[in-house]
Symmetry: C2
Subunit: 353 residues, 2 copies
């Protein structure tokens, strides 16, 4: 009798716990509008994106760029292609669009160069590839994929990566291909601010802090996560990094686990924002770990990791798509260029908070 009573009470306790857990999840799910089955999600960078600073024409151009990318990815998935194919095709569209800080239209380094980073990961096999600091490869995301599929390595940097891409048959361009006037002016402005700062601010110590502070110049990365008909997840990210970056700086985008991660058991993630904080927080893998080890939903885990970045003093956002097609797009900046497409082809595009 005593045993029976204990078992019954234990069972009752389990019911209470399960119910509390379910309620916690539901409370979160209710906050989100992203409970349909999505198949492809993109971002075009997070940052100080305010409606008051945007012209109707510019907003329309960004939306058209995001829509073109979404349609490209959706068509690939509809045609039965893999999530990896869809992610690569979608990011190539964003890289070729000069509005985004990736491929053509990448920001300039302190030395007036375009040095790009990109990464891709296959959630089915956990294979990954990335390139960092490349200046001659038209589509860095395709170079990342070539590293994954045509080499024994995961990450390659600089001229070595460019040499590899050439041998792998990718399109090589003159570095001037990436130049846009808007980005060049952005660098001139940043250089002037830097120089003003060193002349006017007595607390500014170039010898002590050799890096540069570009609070408003570090965003604009593009990324894509997708779920294909076979249930495989993939993630990719591509970026020109920070305007005025120095010293061969590498951000989070090409770092597997930081800016890019995909695992069929959990989620596909692509990040954008102040890369240094995303590296220190291992954001993309942390999101996956919170789902795998703590049972959090993609929305809960997404919110948690962006909060951690905020606690350290960083900002940015991410896109995440779980194995069931549930999406989360958290960010703690003023805005994030973003878009989603459902299995039925319904497209949603948003820019502001």
């Amino acid at each position: 009798m005593k045993t029976f009573s204990l078992l019954r009470s234990a069972a009752w306790l389990l019911v209470i716990c399960s119910s509390l857990q379910a309620r916690a999840n539901t409370a979160y799910a209710d906050d989100s509008t992203h409970q349909e089955k999505y198949v492809l999600v993109i971002h075009g960078g997070a940052g100080t994106i305010l409606k008051k600073n945007m012209t109707a024409q510019k907003e329309a151009a960004y939306k058209a760029g995001l829509e073109e990318a979404l349609k490209t990815g959706y068509n690939a998935l509809q045609a039965g292609k893999s999530s990896l194919d869809a992610v690569e095709a979608t990011i190539r569209v964003l890289e070729d669009n000069p509005l985004f800080n990736a491929g053509k239209g990448a920001v300039f380094t302190h030395d007036g160069r375009n040095e790009m980073d990109a990464a891709i990961m296959n959630g089915k096999t956990l294979e990954a590839g990335s390139v960092a600091g490349v200046s001659t490869i038209r589509n860095p995301i395709s170079a990342a994929r070539a590293v994954m599929e045509k080499s024994e390595h995961v990450m390659m940097a600089g001229r070595g990566a460019e040499q590899f891409a050439k041998e792998a048959g990718l399109e090589i361009v003159d570095p001037s291909y990436f130049r846009t006037e808007e980005r060049w002016e952005g660098l001139q402005k940043a250089l002037k601010a830097d120089s003003m700062k060193s002349r006017l601010d007595h607390s500014y110590q170039p010898a002590g802090k050799l890096g540069v502070e570009n609070i408003d110049n570090k965003f604009g990365t593009v990324g894509c996560v997708a779920l294909d008909k076979a249930g495989n997840l993939a993630a990719g990210t591509s970026t020109g990094g920070m305007t005025n970056k120095k010293y061969g700086r590498i951000g989070d985008a090409p770092i597997i686990g930081a800016g890019t991660y995909a695992n069929n058991n959990t989620v596909a993630v692509s990040c954008t924002g102040w890369g240094e904080f995303f590296i220190r927080s291992v954001v993309a893998y942390d999101l996956s770990a919170l789902m795998a080890y703590k049972g959090l939903t993609v929305q809960e885990a997404g919110k948690a990791v962006i909060e951690k970045v905020g606690t350290l003093g960083g900002n940015g956002g991410l896109i995440a798509l779980d194995k069931n097609g549930r999406a989360a797009l958290p960010f703690n900046t003023e805005g994030m260029y973003r878009g989603m497409v459902t299995a039925e082809g319904k497209i949603t595009i948003e820019i502001y908070k």
Copy 2:
């Protein structure tokens, strides 16, 4: 009465659960000899290290090198210095020792160069710094620390990183400083094997797989984790990477979360092995996440992450030190150069399984 019975039963259930959990932990702890309070742990690389291939003289030289490093770190901690200081000082000793594949004695790339990577992380602040592909900085671990403390960035690569190190006042050397005859012969052997393979093996497709396979040439990284008197953890890793590496390949050592991670709430970790698999598994951060989110002990988590690397087909090892001074040194290779020192100064050095 019913409520009281329920509460009593619930409490009893909790006791059972706690006891099972404790027993599970103990079962593991019993398997391990690393339950004393350790303050500093090092590795000098994992790989095909067999007693039958080792001369008594060579073994003694390795042990002396490891002992010198351990004593350096221990003395720093005893003098009240931070775990960060101890990790840097310890790794500098290993970098300066030509026996280990880091700093002087680094392996050669395919092009006959020494390109080194290093990373360091502060468990108290989650600040981190790393350099990749540097050829002129005498102590790459100190460059990683300078990136962390004297720049806004976390990761720098190539000539940019070298320029930064110079401006930060670090010792710059001629690239020939790193050369040792043993490593040069290692490259010649690898090049010959590569060439033989391409001539003899019809299944070898240099056009398809542009990377190189160097099953026995990818180990020898050095690393250190430490816990100081203030209870702060730190981790550092330094390496020359793989013999015969090409295309600016970056391994796991300089990637925060993959080869190096430290967090005062959980653990400090430094990895060694086949870097590509450690990147894909986000090994160092995964170990921390398993402790933080699943409540695993450092031994359980260490074993789990090395098993995951093995499942993907990779091999290697790691050192991990938790916030209470418990150490784990799992590896799935034939051997791993490793050593530990307790709070009382007791030194243990091991090489083989």
